[in-house]
Amino acid sequence: MLKAAVTALVAFMTLPTVVVIVVSFNPTAILSFPPSGFSFRWYENALTYPQFQRAALNSLWVTLGAVAVALPVGTAAALALERGKLRLPTLWATLLLSPLVVPGVAAGLGFLILAASLGMIRSRAVLIAAHVALVLPFVVRSVWVSVRNLDAALERAAASLGATPWRVFRRVTLPLLRPGLFAALLFAVVVSVNEFVVSLFVSNRVTEILPVAMYSYVVNYTDPTIAAMSTLFITATFAVIWLADRFTGLGRVFLHHR
């Protein structure tokens, strides 16, 4: 009984994904289910569509930029939360540890108005800044867990052995934070690559990232190219997580299996 319920639930959850994957191999131009044959033509279409190529590159740069800023800033914030003697510690923790609770539309509008007032409307910097703000809570939380598990005696020991504060950080703190940093990296990449609503507000045809480009495509055309693109997207995301799990045993931190 319970088993059947779980199976039904899992089927329900994965059904849309399955439909998209199946449709992506449809030979005809209509988004119909079940498909009438098998073809790779929509994959070819997706991969050669110039706006997707440009958007994929944009995605790459925006995510790299956001991660490059959010990882060190988030790590510093996590250390400050645990070690720094902050006034109003709970307020800081709430702000830094929880993802934005405002709707994406509101956040997007906010970033847009800010960008406009700074005269930087539709600039890549604003897009990256928005992504930093969105991924930061995930980064801070992941690193914070590792910081909490860090025995302060280890850092004292390193200092007593002659290590300067910077060397203590390099040789002891940072290596011991590695699992948290890796989880943070993964979270940041997944969140940033999949971000849509806020990016829609602060990008244009030139700067838009992949989810936005896919949305624009759907608005204009209704053929399985978008299903093919989605399938590639899903596959890439899974590949990243699988590789990460493979090489770091992150599953223990991340998914609680094994």
Partner: protein, 351 residues
């Protein structure tokens, strides 16, 4: 007199309104093994942290080799510290743990190789260099920690309850080994412990601490046989403390009918209230009343194997503890009246 390596000059440390160390003066001498002994919360670990440079004094100065190091961060003090939790770096091999201090000192690789090998041999852990700390037992980990703290030949070795996390048998082995290593290296050592047996067995001198102050500083024999204060008498050796009034140069009356003879160092001031301490191992059970005996009623008997701890109440209501070695001279039972032999020279007169 040997010269002072570490000096605390009226050092005080407050933690948000709580005074952990209170205007402490202490000089640790060249080559000595000095223990800071006291119950938890007495300020002994804070004192160690002050010397190590992990915390700064709220007031007072700290000197190492006559040089003022107050405010100097830990990494510039060049001391060796061993922690209760071992604090080995889990991501580094045993070799790299021990090499840590040498690498920070930019010692050439070949010399690091040689000195780490020497240090591991000193603690009998050669051939384990490639293991990770988690693969070693608690006792082995503590020896790695010791090797790590000794390898760069620090001026002073600071030990923060290094044996507390080990089980009893291992603790005793490590204690002997620690003493042997300390003697062979000849390093000035400060040892923090709450265990009086460890302190008595290891130390050249013991500083007995209570509430942020040193109650008594002296050799193990001094603090055991001539406790300066009631706290020391009570904390070390679990003495019985008896209150009375001096009625002669060597006579103390606990109550009008119960007089005890004491052979104190100096004559007692007539009519003064005094406190006497006597160790449970100096109290014996006498077969019959005689000189230096007092009648008491047995209240508690705790069998401990090598000896039996007997608690008895004197006629005036004060309790006395006695260790009776097996076999007991007479059958013991609660409620039974016995004669306690209280030798005059076993009494310590407390200030």
């Amino acid at each position: 007199m040997a010269k002072a390596v570490v000096e605390l000059r009226t050092c005080t440390r407050d933690f948000g309104g709580v005074r952990a160390v209170d205007a402490m003066d202490l000089a640790i001498l060249e080559g000595e093994f000095l223990s800071l002994l006291g119950p938890s919360g007495c300020g002994k670990t804070t004192t160690l942290n002050l010397i190590a440079g992990f915390v700064e004094p709220t007031a007072g100065r700290i000197l190492i080799d006559g040089e003022d190091v107050t405010g100097l961060p830990a990494h510039r003090r060049g001391l060796g510290v061993v922690f209760q939790s071992y604090a080995l770096f889990p991501h580094l091999s045993v070799f790299e743990n021990v090499a840590f201090g040498l690498r920070e000192r930019r010692v050439p690789a070949a010399e690091i190789e040689r000195r780490v090998a020497e240090a591991l041999a000193l603690v009998r852990l050669d051939r384990l260099g490639r293991q990770k700390p988690a693969e070693l037992s608690g006792g082995m980990q503590q020896r790695v920690a010791l090797a790590r703290a000794l390898v760069y030949r620090p001026r002073v070795l600071l030990l923060d309850e290094p044996l507390a996390a080990l089980d009893k048998k291992l603790r005793e082995e490590m204690r002997d080994e620690l003493r042997a290593i300390q003697r062979s290296v000849g390093i000035t050592t400060v040892f923090v412990t709450h265990d009086q047996a460890e302190a008595l067995g290891l130390s050249d001198r013991i500083a007995v601490m209570s509430r942020g102050r040193i109650e008594q500083l002296g050799t193990p024999r001094d603090v055991y046989e001539r406790p300066a204060t009631r706290f020391v008498a009570d904390f070390i050796g679990a003495s019985t403390i008896l209150r009375g009034r001096a009625i002669g140069a060597d006579l103390v009356a606990l109550s009008p009918g119960l007089t005890i003879k004491v052979s104190a160092v100096g004559a007692l001031a007539m009519g003064r209230d005094v406190e006497l301490a006597i160790r449970p191992e100096r109290v014996h059970l006498a077969a019959a009343p005689g000189t230096g005996t007092a009648a008491a009623r047995i209240e508690g008997i705790v069998y401990q194997g090598a000896l039996t701890e007997v608690t008895a109440r004197l006629g005036d209501g004060q309790q006395v503890r006695a260790f009776v070695t097996e076999p007991a001279p007479l059958p013991l039972a609660p409620g039974q009246t016995v004669h306690l032999s209280l030798p005059a020279d076993a009494f310590m007169v407390l200030a």
